[in-house]
Amino acid sequence: MSTDAVAIIGFLSLFVLMLLRVPVGMAMGLVGVTGFGYLTSSAPALKIVGHTTMRTVTDFNFAVIPLFLLMGAFATTSGMSRELFRAANAFLGHLRGGLGIATIAACGGFAAICGSSVATAATFSKVAYPEMRRFGYPQSFATGVIAAGGTLGIMIPPSTVFAIYGLITEQDVGKLFIAGILPGILAISMYMITITIIGYARPGFLPAGQRAPLSEKLSALKDIWATLLLFAFVIGGLYGGLFTATEAAGAGAGGAFLIGIARRKLSGPDILRSLLETTRTTAAVFTILIGALLFGYFLTITQTPQKVTAFLTGLGIGAYGVLTLIMLMYLVLGCLMDALAMIILTVPIIFPVIKELGFDPIWFGVIIVMTVELGLIHPPVGMNIFVIKSVIEDVKISTIFYGVMPFIITDLIRLVILIAFPIIALFLPSRM
């Protein structure tokens, strides 16, 4: 059988196994090793399982994932999100749709210390949703804002998706984090503008709150020092070249822990819960990473990335034509499967195409994270939507999807802006 036929059968088997709910990492590993073994022999195929697995789990660079997850878990359990929301509300709550705008601002702030969109969405479902409902905000809008605001978790550093992309493509994780700052600020601004437009387009739909007195503003500001300190410590250290990404993650986890203890916001059970959550997520991520690396051997021996690159660059539609095709593919795939699984599965194949076309790998990382963000909120498998539904039980899934629609349009516009102006993503990394 030709390598092309083996590659096609391999991919079909992989999709069938994934649709039958075999864990994505295990399915990738199984198909990768079986295919590799078929084209070589079983002995080297079995050898790479032990070697690759042990090498992956004992690679110190990969420790960036559990450590940033732990930092986010400590930040979440110690209630920093509530303080951020209070501060944002004190300054922005008097505007039309002000609580929505404050939610976006607080999500942005929380994203700066927590690299997870799902955790951000879950946290603000508890913190911001009751407030918005209390002030008469429609359920669709309130949940839509939280779903969209939650996606900021992976664009604004630290970000687990950036870390995974960096590890797969061997790009500097620190540069990727810094590249996410300006696109993250752009996202916050565009979401706020969207809420303002909704507020003015539909008068009475979004109420305005009362202006907070100066004393309340100052008191609220006083509470967010911990968040600012942690962000400055971690990202400042990274940008200033003081830490590697893994060290920054360790410093962040230790810093979040000490701040939580010093402010008496982290109890014994909180610490244990944070460690447990981190363990579960780390294990799930590493399973998929090991699977992806094993599948990589299959891709290499079948020369799939080279063939896909030759095919796409031979279409004669130009670099941006190919990029548009890739983006469309991601949007379609995002309707079918988990965003992270989609990235880990496709990046090893797509990345050589991107390099061949002359696009910057760091910039493409930002574009990839944008597609994951979209995948988190667009139907039918938007993870943030399901997380919000699991926290707010009396809301329908369709209501959340309805509420998030304006933000999906905003995200598509932002994607076009980031493609048209790569400098937005590349300006800060170029200064490092």
Binding site: R21, A253, A283, I288, V381
Partner: protein, 171 residues
């Protein structure tokens, strides 16, 4: 009563992994702190960090495999009746068992070859293979737990808890 002991055993495995997460974080944090403020280097902190990472991941995978909190594609699963969902769960768990069994076999080979090669840590010259062996025991625990999960899925599905979606905050 037996299932209570089994649940405690599973919880213990997860706690072991959780403790290692804390140890790795403490190792990195203390190393940075001592290096920047006192110019002191902990011997083998880098090697310990990565070896402990390996241990925590294998023990974590054991618990994750039992709890069913791996990343999966639920497109078909979410749209089929419960009877078919259970069949799909059993199939997926059997595949998982097979893959982890092969992985455990090959990892044992890796532990033995590392011992034979007398691989040591950089500063203290400690043998690396005992760390690999502890990690490998985590993989053995994974095989046992997946076997228990398969048994329960087939004969006692009421004992399997639904995975909590909030336990996947990676994205």
């Amino acid at each position: 009563m037996k299932s209570v002991y089994m649940d405690r055993f599973i919880d213990s495995i997860e706690w072991i992994a959780a403790v290692f997460v804390g140890v790795v974080a403490a190792d990195v944090f203390i190393t940075i702190f001592l290096r920047y403020f006192f110019n002191i280097q902990i011997p083998d902190s880098y090697d310990f960090g990565q070896l402990l990472l390996g241990i925590l991941i294998f023990w974590g995978i054991a618990a994750t495999s039992y709890r069913g909190t791996h990343i999966t594609v639920d497109l078909v699963y979410a749209n089929i009746p419960p009877r078919w969902q259970r069949a799909m769960d059993v199939f997926a768990t059997l595949v998982l068992l097979f893959v982890v069994l092969v992985q455990t076999y090959t990892l044992f080979d890796k532990v033995v070859s590392t011992r034979d090669a007398n691989l040591q840590t950089f500063d203290l010259r400690l043998p690396v293979w005992p760390f690999y062996a502890v990690a490998w025991i985590g993989d053995v625990a994974a095989v046992l737990l997946i076997a228990v999960r398969t048994w329960r899925l087939i004969f006692h599905p009421e004992l399997i808890k639904k995975p909590d979606e909030l336990a996947r905050p990676v994205e």
